[in-house]
């Protein structure tokens, strides 16, 4: 009762103030406009070399309690000025897509170009096209910028009134440099919160026509660089905000509670659906005790009988409809798992999070946009089901999630936040054993190889060979038979444990190959250079011309153990073996190896035995460790260059 009264009181006050000073509460966006007489901005020498430069990107998000009625209004204004300097720059800025998601009213959309010789072309609003229901993104207004030429500035300004929603998120870092970003968040008397992520600046309180707000000003925002072993998209500068109705007192924990209550509807059925129960009987057969096997069989069954559908059909989250049509939304499918796991008497916990490459989940600031991925944790097996990944079966957490924080919900609908990590650091590893011999008077090299792939390696190899298009499978077979040997001839290629369904925990995927190559053996007078390093396949190399921006994030912890046995022909002796000895490691503060590459050799009679051990026990490294990490990664590509000289014996 009290809060209602408060709103009422406030409304009266607002109303009275409006009568007295209608000017004072006018909305900020209404006064905001672009320059009457635009002129080109002066560029620095460095800026002039870019394809395009954002001169200004200004955002105004304004919440307003209306004079009449009680529905809070939300207005969003976007104003951008970009200088385009070449064809690529023009193409980046000359098509504009404005999402109509939640839009009630378009207050205004305008755009203009200012050419170097001062000509101004104003957008003909008749050329704005409407596009309905685009893929999963809703409706759009789109238009092409008229009159854009090299050296011109493209200016776009629009204001939309949106359906009230308490939340929002805007990414401020783009694919081009921006001179100035200004973010204005106006919430007046309402409880508003805003947070900037990965930003070199902070929000400061500001008054907008006597309405309270916060402003963030950032200067010289460089585009995010695509770095390897990183999550660049998730590390972009962005802001997230909340704004609730006047007089309310909504906390994050209320919001999380609310989400958990909503999302977990139907995820903990009292009893399993009877049809499901009888299916579970047949798929489990005698298997009644072990949660790993039971959950695995359930996962495999659902992935072979259900389809996840992304459209607006509301029935896709209705369990009866789903069970009948075997089609479900991404959340609906979790209900299916719930019934199956319940019937199989497997303990499970729904997990809500997001893809770590897209978004770093923040448990300290509620943002519904972060609730994008639904998983199921099987506590007794310490493994996860990823329902929307047909390439996965019950396993350690898939790399797209590993390292993110998630909400874990138990059957009492209590929740906790945990960082999602991998239990077994040796889960994913590769073992390779090679035998190398020289044939037909040093004409070519023959390599017989046995490979064992474990963990995520095994999972993705199986998925590739079972699910990928034929063309990609061919490329993949090239990888499995040693990539990077250009004249390779594959004599034998056999795989084992290739089927997707593998009930035995972490059973390896096996490949047995035999290849020949002439190019690995280079002539140098009477001697031969054997490019032994190339037999391990192309290795990635980390370049370092610019300062590293992102901390290191590997897909998952890894381990490699290789043994290469070279039969040295009796008539030759080997030289230059020192290039086979490499050791690079990165230690933690206690002196324990976090990652390592080590290769060595020994000679036993005419056999040269080379061993390689490489591992990454952790998947995350601080940016300050980059140099050490890079040395270990690059050590493998150093080995890739290793060559030995074979001289005829005197």
């Amino acid at each position: 009762m009290k809060s209602k009264r408060n709103i009422y009181m406030k409304k009266i006050i607002v109303f009275m103030l409006c009568l007295c000073t209608s000017q004072a509460f006018s909305q900020y966006y209404k006064e905001y406009n672009w320059a009457k007489k635009p002129t080109l901005h002066k560029l620095s020498e460095k800026e002039a070399k870019e394809s395009s430069v954002g001169i200004l990107e200004k955002y105004i998000v304004e919440y307003k309690v209306p004079t009449f009625g009680n529905q809070v209004q939300k207005f969003e204004t976007t104003h951008t000025i970009a200088r385009v300097l070449d064809e690529k720059g023009i193409k980046t800025h000359n098509t504009v897509y404005i999402s109509m998601y939640d839009v009630i009213d378009i207050i205004d959309i305008k755009a203009r170009t200012i050419t170097p010789d001062g000509k101004i072309t104003l957008l003909n609003k008749d050329n704005i096209k409407e596009v309905k229901n685009v893929e999963e993104y809703g409706d759009f207004k789109i238009f092409a910028i008229e009159g854009a030429e090299k050296g011109a500035e493209i200016e776009v300004l629009y204001t939309l009134e949106k359906e009230y929603s308490a939340f929002g998120r805007d990414v401020l870092q783009k694919s081009y440099p921006i001179r100035k970003v200004e973010y204005n968040f106006i919430y007046g008397e309402m409880p508003g919160r805003i947070k900037a992520y990965n930003a070199k600046g902070e929000f400061v309180e500001k008054s907008y026509n006597k309405k309270t707000g916060k402003q963030l000003v950032l200067e010289n925002i460089v585009p995010m660089i695509e770095e390897e072993y990183a999550t660049p998209d998730a590390n972009k500068t962005y802001v997230a905000f909340q704004c609730f109705g006047p007089g309310t007192n909504v906390t994050d924990s209320m919001l999380w509670n609310n989400v958990v209550t909503n999302i977990t509807q139907g995820l903990f059925p009292e009893t399993a659906n009877t049809d499901v129960a009888s299916i579970v009987e047949t798929i489990l057969k005698e298997q009644k005790t072990d949660d790993y096997t039971k959950a695995y069989l359930v996962d495999d069954y659902i992935k072979k009988n259900y389809t996840i559908v992304k459209n607006n059909n509301a029935q896709l989250s209705d369990i009866d409809y789903i069970l009948k049509n075997k089609s479900a939304s991404e959340l609906g499918i979790i209900q299916v798992y719930a019934h199956f796991l319940k019937a199989a008497n497997v303990e499970y916990m729904p997990v809500i999070t997001s893809n770590v490459y897209e978004h770093k989940f923040d448990s300290a600031f509620f943002n519904p946009g972060a609730l994008r991925e639904f998983l199921i944790y099987i506590p007794k097996a310490y493994n996860y089901i990823a329902p929307n990944r047909i390439d996965y079966r019950l396993s350690e957490i898939p790399p797209s999630i590993l390292g993110n924080t998630g909400i874990f919900v138990n059957n009492k609908k209590q929740y906790n936040f945990y960082k999602i990590t991998q239990k077994d650091p040796d889960y994913s590893r590769i073992v390779r054993n090679m035998n190398i011999s020289f044939k037909e008077d040093m004409e070519y090299v023959q390599i017989n190889q046995e490979q064992e792939y474990y963990g995520h390696w095994a999972m993705s190899n199986r998925a590739f060979l079972n699910l990928a298009p034929e063309q990609s499978i061919k490329e993949f077979e090239d990888y499995l038979t040693s990539s990077g040997i250009e004249d390779k001839v594959v004599k034998k290629y056999e795989t084992k444990n290739q089927e997707m369904k593998q009930l035995e925990y972490n059973i390896p995927f096996l490949v047995s190959t035999s290849i020949t190559s002439e190019s690995l053996l280079e002539e140098a007078g009477d001697s031969y250079i054997f490019q032994v390093g190339k037999v391990i396949g192309t290795q990635s190399e980390l370049y370092q011309e610019t300062e590293r921006i992102n901390p290191i994030h590997m897909q998952y912890p890894n381990r490699y153990n290789y043994e290469i046995i070279v039969d040295v022909p009796a008539a030759y002796e080997v030289e230059g073996l020192e290039s086979l000895v490499i050791k690079k490691e990165l230690l933690n503060e206690e002196g324990v190896q976090k990652c390592k590459f080590e290769s060595n050799y020994r000679l036993e009679g005419n056999k040269l035995i080379i061993t390689i051990e490489e591992f990454y026990k952790e998947f995350e490294y601080d940016i300050s460790e980059y140099e050490g990490f890079r040395e270990v990664i690059n050590a493998a590509s150093d080995f890739n260059k290793a060559a030995i000289l074979m001289n005829p014996k005197e």
């Binding site: 061919k474 370049y543 011309e545």
Partner: protein, 631 residues
């Protein structure tokens, strides 16, 4: 070699051939038991009503590819979809489930900014191993020029494919089969009371799956193209698409509708660009360069608007347009300054047809401008921002162009393949060996398509990588430890005939020093070494984007105190249409390697694969040869 036209969609006419190869996928997981198309042509008082009744029955042989259950049907302002009925039959339980939810959507396309094409999306329910899906719908075609094509094969094996067309006696139909040599098609003609029924039936057609560096699906996939030739009414015959004349007069009638308001503004631009120039060639080149630099490619497909170029004045004012818009601007400007130029329709290399084979809009998907200067026909493609004047765009080489001379007259002319000499890269490298490390300076001068490809990659493939990483992955010189420094790229605009790229290289771990000997391979660029063809598994000819020539001069400065103990012998290969020559000479304290490499064909036919592989193997062998210096 990049496929640059991936940048330009040229979907000028593409809307009518909605390729179903989005799910171009493999194997025995999924098959079509039946694919049937019944076309019924009704003709009443000068109006055509064309209805295609389509039936597709498919079977899931495994549960691996349940994503095939997601179906997308396309339509646009020339087609309507009606009576869609989709069901899943489950033999195991003898149950049939009906699709009860259809959604109409738009798709954003990388290449086409706005299209009136929409999709009907739905998902077959309850698919699993053994499931059989049935899809029936009608496609109503409102424009008699777009009868379309039928594919006997598709991305999954087809047990039975039937095409049936029923048409009245006063209508004449034309058709042509493509790539049906290896399947047996049973064709029957039947006469009914009011008309004719033609039926083509075939069984057990293999699935189609694409290959790298191969031509588009339509070069291989068995299919048939149909067209309405003419109709007779009251004793008089009216042509639709009887021959190329009819196609052209239809095109010409559409072209006539171009808005020619305010052409004065366009004329003024043309005059300004050319006022200081005297020869026709110079003028034409200046106009082309202006369009390349000032009009940005943005494509709209909106009903017949997809066929009628927008007015030249509006395009010049907006500064954007698609192929037909740019072609029209060039046409207007060139003619205005006294250079006779013509609107030209053409299919890119993705389209395998000749106009005379199937005089239909399926043949082409692109528009350019043709001009004649000193008896020389020059093809000008406004959409290729970087090709030099005088060369056609790479992806139109060898294609037949339909050149509109006047509203009544056209000529067909083939766009010539451009000789290797026109697309040349000259590479000069000086290599120094200091303290175990290679230090080199390199300069590359590119012309023709070599230049165009480099620019396109440099601008668009580079994305957010650094210049160094870009060069490291595209040129791949030395090894993957090669450092590129002092990278310089000359201006890229098409008014410049050459592109010069220069940089310094630092390559560690490259030279092998063992005892007093240092072994060094001067082939830091191993172009083509990865091009061996897998003869056993490859199905289709290898497509080459353009012919080219590379000339290398690599100078190795013999370090003080060293003597040269071994220099490789000359190795050459002069094959059918490709070859190389690598030779070495020692003079004045230097070892100079001369290397030339050329390809003078746009396709390696299957029967030439052995020959091609011999070439590549020999080249790899030659790349293996090192020089040895000793202290």
């Amino acid at each position: 070699m990049t496929i640059i036209h991936s940048k330009f969609p040229f979907a000028f006419f593409l809307i009518f051939i909605s390729f179903a190869f989005g799910q171009n996928d493999s194997s025995e997981d999924f098959q079509f038991l039946e694919r049937t198309e019944n076309i019924k042509i009704n003709f009443n008082k000068g109006d055509f009503k064309i209805v295609k009744s389509i039936h597709e029955k498919a079977e899931y042989l495994t549960a691996n590819k349940l994503y095939f259950a997601n179906e997308t049907l396309r339509f646009d302002s020339f087609t309507k979809l009606e009576d869609i009925e989709a069901t899943t039959y489950l033999p195991a339980s003898d149950k049939t489930l009906k699709v009860d939810y259809f959604e109409t959507k738009h798709e954003f396309d990388d290449g086409i900014f706005y299209s009136d094409q929409q999709t009907k999306n739905f998902t077959f329910p309850a698919v699993t191993k053994g499931a059989i899906t049935n899809l029936k719908y009608k496609e109503v075609i409102t424009e008699p020029h777009f009868l379309g094509m039928f594919r006997f094969g598709t991305y999954a094996p087809t047990k039975k494919a039937v095409l049936r067309i029923e048409f009245p006696k006063n209508v004449e139909i034309g058709y042509k089969e493509f790539h049906t040599e290896n399947i047996s098609v049973n064709f029957t003609k039947q006469e009914t009371k009011n008309g004719h029924i033609y039926t083509w039936t075939t069984e057990n057609v293999e699935k189609y799956s694409g290959e790298d560096d191969a031509e588009a699906a339509l070069y291989h996939l068995p299919h048939i193209i149909l067209h309405i030739k003419n109709y007779t009414e009251n004793g008089k015959t009216f042509p639709i698409l009887n021959n190329v004349n009819d196609l052209y007069s239809w095109y010409a009638s559409l072209a006539k509708q171009v808005d020619d308001n305010e052409l004065d503004k366009v004329y003024k631009i043309a005059e300004d660009i050319t006022k200081k120039l005297t020869s026709k060639r110079e003028k034409a080149e200046a106009i082309y360069n202006w369009v390349q630099e000032n009009i940005t490619y943005v494509a709209f497909e909106d009903g017949l608007g997809g066929f009628i170029p927008r007015g030249a004045a509006s395009v010049c004012n907006n500064r954007y347009g698609d192929c037909k818009d740019m072609a029209n601007v060039l046409y207007v400007m060139l003619n205005h300054v006294g250079i006779p130029s013509y609107r030209t329709w053409i299919g890119t290399r993705d389209r395998p047809y000749l106009y005379a084979e199937v005089p239909t809009p399926i043949v082409d998907n692109h528009m350019i401008t043709a001009t004649v200067i000193d008896n020389d026909t020059i093809f000008i493609d406004g959409t290729d921002s970087y090709v030099n004047f005088g060369m056609p765009s790479s992806f139109t080489q060898t294609k037949e162009a339909l050149i509109g001379i006047s509203p009544e007259r056209f000529v067909l002319k083939k766009v010539p393949a451009q000789a290797a000499e026109k697309s040349k890269t000259v590479i000069e490298t000086e290599i120094n060996f200091e303290n175990g490390t290679i230090k080199a300076g390199e300069k590359r001068i590119m012309t023709g398509y070599e230049r165009v490809d480099f620019i396109t990659e440099y601008l668009y493939k580079k994305k957010n990588n650094t210049e160094e990483e870009f060069l490291n992955t595209t040129l791949a010189l030395g090894n993957n430890k090669t450092k590129y420094q002092n990278i310089q790229v000359s201006p890229v605009e098409s008014k410049h005939k050459t592109l010069t790229l220069s940089f310094d290289l630092l390559i560690e771990n490259y030279a092998k020093t063992i005892g007093s000997k240092t072994i060094l391979n001067l082939n830091i660029d191993r172009a083509l070494s990865k091009q061996k063809i897998d003869i056993e598994n490859r199905k289709y000819a290898k497509k080459i984007d353009h012919q080219f020539l590379k000339e290398y001069t690599t100078t190795f400065v013999i370090p003080d105190g060293y003597t040269v103990t071994s220099i490789p012998k000359r190795i050459t290969y002069d094959g059918k249409a490709y070859g190389f020559d690598i030779s070495y000479e020692q003079k004045e304290g230097k070892i100079i390697q001369h290397k030339t490499l050329y390809i003078k064909t746009l396709r390696i036919e299957k029967e030439d694969f052995e020959d091609w592989n011999t070439f590549i193997k020999k080249l790899i062998k030659a790349y293996k040869k090192s020089i040895i210096i000793e202290k």
